[in-house]
Each structure stands twice: as structure tokens, then as C-alpha cells.
Symmetry: D2
Subunit: 337 residues, 4 copies
């Protein structure tokens, strides 16, 4: 089977796994207080900038989003997100379970714009309505698109105008920062966001995400919120050692780049064979449109995700490459269509 | 000033106030266990039908919606509502504060259709997503439209197909059941809904709503959920005595009818003067469109609600009649335009 | 029947009911924005002191406690309360339903001491534990005892040492401030508490409580939390008009004094007949100990509350007087024992 | 340094780590749907019994308790737990954050008895109070004591009498089931509990817990609650592969036994040197009492946990052995005292 179903079908990159193996046979302090956590935090401060207020390691993405949004808002405050946002649709109401509404704005490409936020702010003007406080974006977005620095800067300025926090879900950050369209660095993210996270689970780690909080106020007592949400990992060293290995020598970006290369090789081949896409390919997730018949034929040999069954005899499927995808996987797929 | 701002600007109809005065000087048992509560429940069973599982009195609409939805769902379950629904926009996230997502579907007229629910059901097909469980509708809706029996029956059938509960917010039920377009009785509501409420606050009571639960399962331990949500009124007799007076001799419907008559007199006059409406008038809330200048002139003499400031020099305003509106109020308004 | 079951068996004092009747037949603005709300707030500022940050009217006690504690704390923060506290045992977990733990400390008389709070603070010293933030007390307490100014001052100082908020549940404040042991005024409460409320439901109003917030920070966006918790009453004038009437000319204190006088008349008579009490009578709730047989005899003529069935053939019952209790009620009861 | 601070200072036992390494380099399905999850579930059904309704893998203990209790209760229901219970004191209000009260009962040894539950049931007899629904116990308990089969059977019978669920927190189950006092098997747990979990994090796994639900009703839609609580691990194979390795050939019990042997060797040595214990040693956590001076001397060479600073010049410290503790660690410690 050719695995193009998602980017979390494999474990960790070898470097990361070896780092984990090393700490496995040592005693370490727990709950984020071990030496390697300290080192990993300093390393991240080094690549993101001296303004980092706190770095926290959490085992997975939904838990990270839930914990951050619970920590950043008062009860009547709400997050603004694209209607395709991960928190909007694919976390079983995890944010609402902490008591907060998500204000969903329509998005064709997974991104949201300052104009949309302005409109939300204009409408939410009385105590009968929730108070918008956090702007949630993901980069790459759920349909694989990527923010530019100009776009993120415009969102930042909008947030500044309205006293909003900008939070970036980086579950696929390695793929975003190495996408052709990207023009941002780690430091840019630090300067533009109140908080963001380095996704590990989907980007070369065995599991885990590293939250970087830039806004001192949002970092206050964050560990309490982590623990209350089941997000304070007992053996923190398992997370910090992975992130240390992942970020060192730009392994993170090299893995992201490789996945994007494979995705574009795949997209080019699909285009060359005359197929179209539901969204223009920008990163490691691509969404070709095939006939029902063609998709049926793929079932035997390919693991993919059905994205949308249209009523015109076609289907959109999602194909995802990862740091582990090989050229052979791509070429084998292209031979099938 | 001509008061057309809302239907809760006045206290109770005289009959209701007198009923309250009577019990004010007596000792009564508390928390819904008084004799008058028992009688009022029996009375409501009489007009709605023998299938009533429980009747509960709550002090206001938001508390009623919050309490019902908290009681009817498990944590991961969600309510489906129009994007104009009261729970969607005007309760400061009260439902989300109990941990539940509201799935909002677009609506031009405040109503939702079985097709929209079918689509929600089709999409929500895995544990990454919340599980739709309650269909929330309001009658009259927020923009004043009214459900027909055929529409409600179709919703009921859709709910039956997908194991959903149908909950009807009756904050303005008196106005709905006496609207020209209405063809439903109390008994129809009982047969078609899992739960609904008789709105009192906006329909002639001093305050309070009477929840009628038809589905035995939803009634189980409802008093616990009421109390946990601050909705179990200590002096229940204050609520039950009002509802007894309000429902007796069809006072409720007579008050609703009067408000609708006033609204149509108003709407006809506005139409006769050449103005248009944002929504076709169907009940006691109407939404005429005036020029900015005209609205400016009204400010001195009329209390109304600004609904939407358009960018073409016009505004939609909301004018609301109630059981307390007099012909003179209407005619005075019409002279102004 | 002689009604000594509780202090919410009756409606409003006549003055209060007349004030309500007056506003019933007028149009008023809603959600706390009416003129009478403004006046009542100013009146309360006059009697409590210029430091009042906000006054908010809520329909009942559980809703008030739930709303205040939800507003005052971040998610991982907790309230400290006596294990007999109303929020601890008699609100069906309303505070926990907003996500907060209540740290219960043992209390024989319903009061808590600075030493107990110090111990809680000492133990709660890491992010594995909730962070104590609010000290909840009630005056009178659930078993009818009363705080002195020295006791409240000591609690205030303890709160200042540990950055805690002091919140006083005044459901029975009229009875507390007129108890023989009391040496506090409205102004003292304002100076010592971060927030407290004037109980109306149990002290002469038809229903309702008036929250007084002294700490500016706690007042911020309070209306949003009220609405989210179903506590923002649509017809605010119904609450403000009652409180205006209740507080004017010290009616509140006169009603409290009368109830206490009746309670002591009752207690003295019971003592004279050779019975003992579970708690020393201090206010309008008294807890005599009778034999099972004696209690059985009372059942026919008296409405009271069973407090504790002991295993030695005796029972503690709760007898409660109110502003509405008459000498005849007391004397009739005494004849029965 | 001699590490006796806790039983989560080390990673995984070698067998477990090797199993993880194997799956690291393969593609697997996600969210608990992989083949190895299926196998591990079958394996667990084999050792616990055919009555297993569901097996779910979660990354850590707090998340497991939070998820289970959120899944098992309706909003107004409560868990009964010892006041030393992990959910009561050391999870930063994680259970309350899902809206549920924990009713704490006093316990000297970390265990609770049917009599205590009966008393809770007797008191909680009205809708003003939460409704007890889950009995939470831990085995071993927080102070290291162990339940016998007779004790657990008595709790089960009490639960049956009152329609309560019995939930056993098995964070240290390996140590419980191999304690000298234990007389229970996996099958006994399955027959007596509604749900329990095999603790992995503290018992030889790298991380993770395996929840076993026996009661079909409690298993319904459990995955939704997992995801909503951030507890549905993306790469489920990382958890299932570990548990398969851990439970195979009774490795789990062998690791537990070794830790207990080391703990008793340590306890015997401490006793022989004339020291006493705060709790009688029963498993891998022991609580000797040393003078302040002696504890001060240990600081240089030993990692331990301060449990209680007494006011008589002594301290209780907690010493914890694990599957990784060696005889040399024990003997080195004994030489120091």
C-alpha cells in the first residue's frame, strides 16, 4: 500500500528516536522541570528570540489548542476562527468544553483576513454577545494553504487595534515554513504572534507539540491550566528531548522541505495527467479531483482520505506527504492514475 | 415617547399581577413544590395533552435555554440552530458555557429546514466532530417569522430519522400561535416537540417561562440541572400563579392576538406610506427600512431598535408591539413617517 | 399551621410589593439600564460608601453565587468555604459546574477562621493543586451564626496577606446586621469585602439579590458573566424597584430586627421549657433539640425543617422566623411543646 | 544521587522500548484504529475476561481520570473519593473543570469504606445536592496501601445497592497486584469494577494508561469524550504496542513485584535502624519518619519527596521504588541513615 493518508502514520525520524532512547535509560525530574526541558527552552528562545515568555511541551494538538484557549480567555470571551479551522470542526468541541464559543468565519482557502475580523468586532458590540478575544489561525491551514508575512502582519495589526491575541496553530509548521510561498522565519512568528506552537506529531517527532508564548500575561500560571486539562506530561523529558533533536541543525525545516518537495512532485504529476485540484497545492497536503471510478480503482493500492463526495460523479481526495514519504511512493501513485 | 423597542418593556397584564398579589400575602411551599405549581402543571397538561412528562418554571429565557440544553445532552453532543438563533448570538455563549457546541446553519428568515439538518448529520460522521443531538428552533423566530404545522412536522420526522430531540424556544409563543400564518395548537406543539416553553416575560407575565417536557427521558432529574444552573426559583409560586392566570381563559392567546393586530396595523400603515420591509411581517416584530434621515427624525419620539445600518443611506429598524401596545401608539407612529 | 420552615415562604413586604406595582404599569428600559436601576445603585453607593465599583441585581441566591465566583476566578482557581457553606452543599454543584473546585474546611458553627485559610494556603503550594483565590463566607451562616467586625477584619487581613478576594454571601444579611452580636454596618462590609450581596429573597423582597462589588477589577465585564449564566434579568426594573423600597428608611434592617426578635422570643420560650439547642441561637434560625416523640407531635401543627436525626432518640429541627412572623406564631408554637 | 523520589523518573523497560522502536519505523492507522490496538485489546480481554466492553489507551493519568469521570456522569452527578485521592488534591481541579463535584470523605490510609459511602448517600437526598454516581478508588492508594478482595467486594455490593459505578484508578496497579497483602487478579478487577485502568507511566511503560471499561453503558461514545478532552492519541500504536509488550508474559506483574521487593528491603532496613513509619508499608511507596537533621543530611545524596513537616522536629518523607530500582540503591540509602 502507498501511504498518503496523513502525516502522522509514522513514528519519529531516526534522530529524534535516538534522542528519546538516550533519555529512556536515565533518571530525570518530571513535569517539565528536568534539565533537558530547560535546555530545549533555551534553544527555542535562541531561534525564536529573546522575547519568549514561556515554552511548554504538550503531548498532542487538540490538547494544545484546548489548553491554550482555556488559558488565554475569560469565560465570556471567544475565539475567532475559519469555519474550516481544526478547533471549529475536528476537535469534538474541545474548546467549547472549556466553556468558550468559537466564532466561525467563512473561508474558501482556510485562511482568515483582517476584514473578517473587523466585521466580527463590529457586530459583537454588547454584553448579549460573547467578546472576541483570540484570533485562531493555522499555518499551514487545514486545506494546505500558507500565510505570507504580509498577511500575518496585517492580522497582527488588526489584533493590536482591537486588543486581540493572535494564536497560531503550528501542527504542520515545518511544512508551512518550507512552503514555496512562505517568507517567514521562526523569529517572524515570535514577533507577530502572542503564542504559537511547533507541531511535532505531524512533523518528525514521535509525538508532542511545543507551545511558545510570547505574551508574558498569557504565560502566567500556564502550568496550572496544563495540569487541569490533562496536558502536563509526567515525563517531560520525553518531549523536550525530542524537540531538542528536531530543532537542532534545522532538521525540522529539512523534514518539512522534503515533504513539500514530494507533494509538489505528486501535484505536478497529477496535473500533467490532466487532473485538477480543489485548492491550489501550496504545501504537503494536496486535494486532487478524480472521478468516482478512478477513486474506486485507487482503493486497492493507496491509503488516502476522502475529502468531499461531489454530486457530479467526482470526488476530492486528500493526499498527504510527510518527512517519511519517498520518491518511490509518489511515482508508484502516479503510475496508478 | 412611543415605545416600540421590544416586548419586555412593560410588567405583567393586570390579571397576572393580581394573581401574584394574591399569593404574595400567603405562605407557600418552595422550589416548585407548592399547591399552585401542582395546579398549574395540571392545567398545562390539560391544554397540551396527557403526554406531558414534566412542567418546570424558570425565571427567564436564557436560563431556560441553557438549562434545557445542558439537561438534554451528553458532553460531546451539540445543538443545531439557525445562525440568527437566540442561543447562537444573543446569550453570551450561555450554552457553550455548559460545554456544548452550537452548530449554526445559515438562515435568511430565522427558520431552519430538514434539508439543512440532513446536511449537518451527513457531515458529522466521526468522533473528531461533535454529535448533533438537539434541533433548536424558535417560534416566532428572531426576525419574527412563524413555523407552520407542515414545517414543524417535517422537522419532527427528520429528528425521528436521526434520533434527534426537537426543542422549541417559545419566548414569543403567544405571538406565534396567533399569527395569521399559524395553524398550530398547544396540542400540536406537544405532539411534535420533545420540549418547548411558554414564554411569559415577553407575553404578558411579569417574568418567567414554563418549560413543557414531553419526552420522559429528558425530564429525568431535570430539577437537579435547574438548580445547578441557578434556575430553580425559590418561591416557585410566583411563577406558577402567573402562568395559571396567563393561560386561563386563553388570556395568553388573546394578548398575542392583540399584539399581532397592532403589528399588522403598523405594517399596513408603513406599507401604505411607501416603505418596504427587510422581512415580510408575520408577527409582532416588524422590520421596516427607512432612510438614515427618517430614522434620525424618529429618534426624538420613538423607542425602537436599530437592526442593521446599510451602506446605501438606509437602515433596518425593528418595531415590536406587545400585548400592551395601544392603537394610539401605532397611529402616533404612522403620523411621524 | 404555624409556618417556621424557612424565611422564603412568603412574598414581599407590602412596601416592596407596592413599589413593584407602580413600575408594573410603566414602560422601562431593560437589562439593568432603566432609571430606577440607576437610582437604586446610587442609593446603595450612598449607604455602602463611595468605593462601590458596581451594583448588580440578580434574581436568586444560587445564581448570584455562581455568577460571582465564575466572574472572580481564573479556571484553575478555587474558593475556600466552610463545609456547611451554601455553595459547598446546597447548590447542586453550581460552582463546580462553572469549572471551579471548592476547598471545604471543617466548621462547627458555619464560620471559618484565618488560621484555616492559612493552612489551606500552606498546603496548596504547587501547580498540581488548585490555587485558592476567593474566600467565601456567609453572614448569617447556614447554622445561623453571625460574624463580628473583629472576625471579618481578621479574615480581610488574611486575604490581603495572600492576595485573596473576600466574598460575603448575604442571603440573610438583614438578619445578620440586626443580630444582637453584630457590630457591623453597611459601610463596614464595603470596607472589608471585595464583594457582598444584600439578600432580598429571604429578607422582605418578592425575589432578588443585590450584588455590591467593591473591587474595581472584579467588576470588569461583569454583565457578560451575568448574561452567560442566565442571571441578567430582562426587566431589571423589577429588581431595582424592590431594592429601592427595601433599603429606604432602613426597612431592610427593621424587617431583620423583627425576625430576630421573634427568634429570640421563640428561643427563650424553648429554653424556659427545658430544651437545649444544637447551636447557640444568634439570629433568625434556631436549632432546638427535641425527642423523636415531641417532633412527631409537632408534625400536625407546625411546618419546620428536620436538620439532623440523631441516634439517641432525639432530633435537631430548624425553626426559622422571618420579617413576616408574628408573635402569635411564636406563642402558638410554645404552647405546643 | 540515589533516586527514590517517584516511580516515573525513568522511561520504559527495555522490552517496552523495543516494541516501540519496532512500530516507529512502520506506517500505522491512527486514533486507536491500528492493528496493534486491536490485538492489544484482544489480549487484555483475554486476561481480564470476556465481559470487557472496551479498552482505550490514554497518554497519562490525570487525562484518564478526567476523561472517564466526564464520560460516566451527567452534569449534576458527583464522584465520591478519599480526601487524599489523586483526583481530590493533585490534579488541579481537572474533574471539577468538567463540571463535576468530588465529594471527599476523610481517610487515614487512603482507602474508603462502604460505611462512608452509605453515609454520603444518606445525606445526599435532595435536588439541592449533587447526586453521587461514581465511587473513585485508587489501588495502590496515594499513601501506598492496598485493597483486598474482600474490601473491593464490599464496595461493589455497596455500589450495587445504590446504583453507583465503581471506578479504580490503577496508576500503580502493577505494584498493587503484587503487594503481599493483595489477593486479587486481573479477572477479579474486571468482575468487581465498572471500569479501571492499567497504569503504564509509573509501571514500566514509557508513558500511557489502558482504560478497561466493563460496563457497556459507560463505553458508549467514549471516543468522543476522549477527543473532546485531548485524550485521543493520534498515533495510538505508540500506546498499544507498549501495553502489548508490558502485559505479555506477565512482565507487568514481574516489574511490580521487583519494586515491592525493593520497597520491603528498604522498609525492613529502616525499621531495623529504629525508625518508624507514618503508614504501614504495603507497596512501593513507604513513608518513614526522620528527624529534621537526618532529612537534612539526606539532601546531598538522595532524591525523595517531603511528605509532611511535623511540628515536633520530625518529617515524614516519601521513598518510592520502581521496576528500575536496584538493590544497590536500597543498600546505599540504608548506609546513609
Amino acid at each position: 500500500m502507498i501511504f498518503l493518508k496523513n502525516d502522522y502514520g509514522r513514528g519519529a525520524h531516526e534522530n529524534v528516536f535516538r534522542a528519546l532512547e538516550k533519555v529512556n535509560y536515565e533518571y530525570h525530574d518530571s513535569y517539565g522541570d528536568d534539565d533537558i526541558c530547560m535546555e530545549a527552552r533555551e534553544f527555542i528562545r535562541g531561534i525564536v528570540g529573546p522575547g519568549v515568555a514561556g515554552v511548554h511541551f504538550i503531548h498532542g494538538g487538540t490538547a494544545t489548542n484546548k489548553t491554550c484557549l482555556a488559558a488565554f480567555m475569560r469565560p465570556y470571551e471567544a475565539a475567532v476562527a475559519a469555519d474550516s479551522g481544526h478547533i471549529s470542526v475536528h476537535e469534538t468541541g474541545a474548546v467549547e468544553a472549556t466553556g468558550h464559543k468559537i466564532i466561525e468565519v467563512p473561508s474558501d482557502d482556510g485562511k482568515i483576513t483582517p476584514d473578517q475580523i473587523e466585521e466580527v468586532i463590529e457586530v459583537h458590540n454588547m454584553s448579549q454577545m460573547v467578546l472576541p478575544r483570540v484570533v485562531y489561525i493555522s499555518d499551514t491551514t487545514e486545506p494546505g494553504t500558507v500565510y505570507t508575512k504580509a498577511e500575518l502582519t496585517a492580522l497582527r495589526e488588526c489584533c493590536d487595534r482591537h486588543d486581540l491575541y493572535l494564536y497560531l496553530d503550528g501542527a504542520r509548521l515545518a511544512y508551512a515554513l518550507t512552503a514555496p510561498k512562505n517568507d517567514m522565519t521562526y523569529k517572524d512568528l515570535g514577533e507577530l504572534c502572542d503564542a504559537f506552537y511547533f507541531g511535532g506529531t505531524k512533523c518528525g517527532a514521535l509525538f508532542g507539540e511545543a507551545v511558545v508564548i510570547m505574551n508574558e500575561k498569557l504565560n502566567e500560571n500556564f502550568a496550572f491550566v496544563m495540569r487541569q486539562n490533562g496536558s502536563l506530561f509526567a515525563k517531560g523529558v520525553l518531549l523536550s528531548s525530542q524537540f531538542r533533536a528536531l530543532l537542532e541543525d534545522d532538521l525540522y525545516l529539512r523534514l518539512g522541505k522534503k515533504a513539500n518537495d514530494m507533494a509538489f512532485r505528486l501535484a505536478d504529476g497529477i496535473t500533467a495527467r490532466g487532473y485538477d485540484f480543489a485548492y491550489t497545492p501550496e504545501s504537503n497536503q494536496i486535494f486532487p479531483i478524480f472521478s468516482d471510478k478512478k477513486v474506486g480503482e485507487l482503493d486497492r493500492d493507496v491509503m488516502y482520505t476522502l475529502w468531499e463526495k461531489r454530486h457530479d460523479g467526482t470526488q476530492v481526495i486528500r493526499l498527504v506527504t510527510s518527512w517519511a514519504t519517498e520518491e518511490k511512493d509518489v511515482d508508484d501513485f502516479l503510475e496508478l492514475i
